[in-house]
């Protein structure tokens, strides 16, 4: 039953993703790949769409995956699933546990989660880079398929993006807009990958 599966999966994602949109990418990646809902490439495309449209990244991703698997009802159910844990937890805190965040034990728990989330995001970035650019292919079949040729054009795009982003930040003292980087990479993709 795809609707129940979507609901429970996104409920889990909503309940265990700390640290905002990027914090949930590792969890969404793991679930979506395990269920066969998305490939590594499709996941990256989806994050790009989620980044370039307004609204919370998590809601965008839930709607997208839900729609691809179960139409408009699937989209609604996945979105409900991802929102529900936040909604309930916040209601409980707002109603009864205003001081919850001030307990030393809760602080200690969150203090352990925070560096863990940073590690998860960096690990996701590293594994996805190995998979998409480093020639590691789809990592779950790595042992059977083995390494393929690295994507040199991808590496070139990555280096140019990093140089552009860092120099703009140096010059303007402001972080670069993600949408600008997405547009720039789209242009480079059209030039470099054209068959």
């Amino acid at each position: 039953m795809i609707y129940l599966e979507l609901f429970l999966t996104f409920l889990r994602i909503g309940a265990f993703s700390f640290g905002g949109g990027y914090g949930m990418i590792s969890l969404i990646r793991e679930e979506a790949l395990a269920h066969g809902w998305l490939t590594e490439d499709a996941l990256l495309n989806m994050i790009a769409v989620a980044e370039s449209t307004p609204g919370p990244i998590a809601v965008n991703m839930a709607t997208f995956v839900g729609s691809s698997q179960g139409g408009v009802l699937g989209a609604a159910i996945a979105t409900l699933g991802v929102v529900l844990p936040s909604f309930i937890i916040i209601l409980i805190i707002a109603m009864a546990l205003r001081g919850l965040m001030k307990y030393a034990g809760v602080k200690a728990f969150l203090g352990g989660i925070r560096p863990c989330v940073v590690g998860l995001i960096l690990a996701t970035a590293v594994t996805m880079l190995l998979s998409r650019v480093g020639g590691f292919g789809d990592l779950s079949t790595l042992r059977e398929v083995g390494l393929t040729a690295p994507d040199l054009r991808g590496a070139v795009i990555l280096v140019i993006l990093a140089l552009v982003a860092l120099s703009i930040r140096k010059l303007t003292k402001k972080p670069v807009s993600p949408i600008f980087l997405i547009l720039l990479s789209a242009v480079m993709g059209m030039i470099l990958y054209v068959p």
Binding site: S67, V83, V133, G154
Partner: protein, 194 residues
């Protein structure tokens, strides 16, 4: 006055949901502008509390803040309306895009553009991680948790061993509590602030 609160909540959240790009942190600035500066529904100090709670509870920061502010203004109904308002724009926009996205991708030029865009997304994920690393409080403990998670997850993924992200998160939390308990035992009663 109260009767106006519900529609105002809904449309304000709808507006914020429709016009903020870049996820939760960008949204916090807009929420502050609307609810603290313009409408004065919240004091600055309470808003900082909301932001801290939204950041440290699981789930999207924008949804967490909307639920909290909605509840504070108009109870459960307020929280439902605020959360719905925040979610609706994304939902409609992404649903519409998802309908024609595959057809769009089947154009060669678009497919090539997205091959490039995938690289930008990788860059964005990496820089989000590095930004959070910069902001992280750096202690031997936080470095240990970070490196264990990073090395553990990359190694296990390359070995095709499946270990859920949830396990890492819970282990991190438990390690945090364990460290706090050990410190408390060592310093007697005084160690409340970890």
């Amino acid at each position: 006055m109260k009767s106006k609160t519900i529609p105002t909540l809904f449309f304000t959240m709808l507006k914020i949901g429709l016009f903020t790009f870049g996820g939760g942190y960008a949204m916090i600035a807009l929420l502050e502008n609307e609810f603290v500066t313009k409408r004065r529904w919240l004091e600055q100090e309470e808003f900082l509390d909301v932001a801290a709670i939204a950041e440290s509870t699981p789930g999207p920061i924008a949804i967490n803040s909307a639920t909290y502010i909605g509840f504070k203004q108009a109870g459960i109904l307020g929280s439902v309306v605020a959360t719905l308002g925040m979610t609706l724009p994304s939902f409609c926009i992404i649903y519409a895009i998802s309908l024609f996205f595959d057809a769009f991708l089947s154009l060669t030029a678009v497919a090539c553009a997205f091959r490039g865009i995938q690289i930008a997304v990788l860059y964005l994920i990496l820089s989000a991680g590095l930004r959070m690393l910069k902001k992280m409080e750096k202690t031997p403990f936080s470095w240990a948790v970070l490196l264990l998670t990073l090395i553990g997850m990359v190694t296990l993924t390359l070995l095709s061993v499946k270990l859920s992200t949830i396990v890492y998160i819970l282990a991190g939390g438990v390690a945090g509590v364990a460290l706090w308990l050990i410190r408390r035992l060592r310093h007697g009663k005084k160690g409340g602030e970890a």
